[in-house]
């Protein structure tokens, strides 16, 4: 399903990825771990096509992300660290606008059920700016329930939500995997979940040779 092969990435002259490989098949869950700045978010951004790797390729269903272009929204759902919610709109308006952007049509029953999962029913008309940090995260996670894509990319989904919500999220993830879906997520918080694989990202330390300064390429 998702194939990341021999990725190289430099950011601010520092190497973040060096010959990195990853393979995600159907009904698999992969957890990304690593200290801050090890490149978890960079990896997810690369997979979603926000950043281009310097070398190597990323393929989803044997197609590169650049080729996918407009079909990206059908293939994966990415919940980044930021919540992507407009403060001046209500919860309903935010989710409806998201549905509209990702070309999804959801009947009212399913919509209400999705809201009910994270018990957002009572606040669905209130403005996002009046919500707490955890509630905002819950609204963002509701998008997962509304989406129909097989691949979920989650960047720190457990940040700022309570234990009750974590168990709900765990349940949702297990359900998704059972339905042949696959999940790639990063987290600091321990989640007791049956993982297929756990990838620990490490900062790359390159040995620097002073003779390298004698070539223009190294100035780049």
């Amino acid at each position: 399903m998702l194939e990341v092969s021999s990725i190289y990435l430099y950011r601010n002259r520092k190497q973040v990825f060096k010959n990195f490989n990853l393979n995600l098949k159907n009904s698999e869950i992969i957890l990304l771990e690593g200290e801050n700045g090890a490149g978890k978010t960079s990896l997810l951004n690369m997979i979603s096509g926000l950043i281009n790797p310097d070398k190597g390729f990323i393929k989803i269903y044997k197609k590169s992300i650049v080729e996918l272009g407009n079909q990206k929204k059908k293939i994966f759902t990415y919940i980044p660290d930021k919540n992507c919610l407009k403060e001046n709109l209500s919860v309903n308006e935010n989710l409806k606008s998201w549905l509209n952007l990702s070309n999804l049509k959801v009947n009212d029953n399913k919509y209400q059920k999705a809201l009910n999962t994270f018990s957002l029913n009572s606040i669905q008309e209130s403005l996002v700016k009046s919500l707490s940090q955890g509630q905002k995260k819950k609204v963002a996670l509701t998008k997962l329930l509304l989406s129909k894509s097989k691949l979920w990319l989650l960047d720190e989904p457990l940040n700022g939500i309570d234990t009750k919500t974590i168990t709900i999220l765990k349940k949702i993830m297990i359900q998704h995997v059972r339905k042949n879906g696959s999940i790639l997520f990063s987290s600091h918080v321990k989640l007791d979940l049956k993982l297929t694989k756990r990838i620990i990202l490490k900062k790359i330390v390159n040995k620097f040779n002073i003779d390298l300064l004698d070539q223009w390429e190294n100035f780049q």
């Binding site: 601010n12 002259r13 520092k14 390159n206 620097f208 002073i210 300064l213 004698d214 070539q215 223009w216 390429e217 190294n218 100035f219 780049q220």
Partner: protein
């Protein structure tokens, strides 16, 4: 091939070899030029002694255009081939070009007051030269605005390539539109409408300014290369 051949240290060797010669030539041309400008050249039949401003104004104006076209070439090179030397050269050129443009504007204004009777008019030549000055300033600001120098270089290169539209406007504005500024006195096609006794000091000054510019640019490139080396070292130490 060019990328492989010129590595920073050979480039440094070449420029260290050229620099003293350029500076020497600059001094020689400047002294002989000043002798001609102040003692050996006649005043103009109309302007009188004011004509001597021209010997600074014209070289500055030519250099301001020349430097810009050089920067545009470098920007093209840096966008297409991504060679750092091109970025370093245009970064070294921009402040010098801005200074020459400012000198052109100021000397022109000093000349304009007694000749035309005004310090400044919104004439096509003058305005386009002012726009050139703004573009130089924009280049300096954009290339220094980013923490990552390469990013700044790229955007500055784009600005330089966009601003190249201004060059033909400056050059031919006096021919296309009726302006207050007089048309060019020296052109390839026709015989110059400037007397030989004034041409000699003019060209002496042009060459002296040219060598002055070359030696300054070499110095600035050297400084820029060293500062980039230091930056890389610092990043790898951390």
């Amino acid at each position: 091939m060019f990328t492989k051949l010129a590595n920073p240290s050979t480039f440094q060797k070449i420029s260290d070899f050229i620099f003293p010669k350029c500076f020497g030539l600059f001094i020689v041309f400047l002294i002989s030029g000043f002798y001609y400008v102040f003692f050996s050249s006649p005043p103009d039949y109309l302007q009188g002694e004011t004509v001597r401003i021209m010997y600074i104004h014209v070289p500055c104006a030519w250099l301001s255009l020349g430097i810009y076209s050089m920067m545009a070439g470098c920007s093209f090179f840096s966008i297409v081939f991504k060679h750092t030397l091109a970025d370093i050269i245009s970064r070294a050129c921009a402040p010098l070009g801005a200074c020459f443009t400012l000198a052109t504007l100021i000397t022109g204004s000093i000349w304009g007051k007694p000749t035309w009777g005004t310090w400044w008019v919104w004439d096509a030549r003058l305005t386009s030269e002012l726009v050139l000055f703004f573009i130089y300033i924009g280049h300096i600001f954009i290339s220094n605005a980013y923490e990552d120098k390469r990013k700044g270089d790229r955007y500055a290169a784009i600005l330089t390539l966009l601003g190249i539209v201004n060059l033909p406007i400056i050059k031919w504005s006096v021919d296309w539109w009726n302006t207050l500024h007089q048309p060019a006195s020296i052109s390839k096609l026709s015989s110059p409408s400037i007397d030989p006794s004034m041409m000699i000091p003019l060209f002496l000054m042009v060459f002296s300014f040219l060598f002055f510019f070359i030696s300054l640019v070499l110095l600035r490139i050297k400084g820029e290369v060293i500062s980039r080396k230091l930056e890389i070292l610092e990043q790898h130490r951390a």
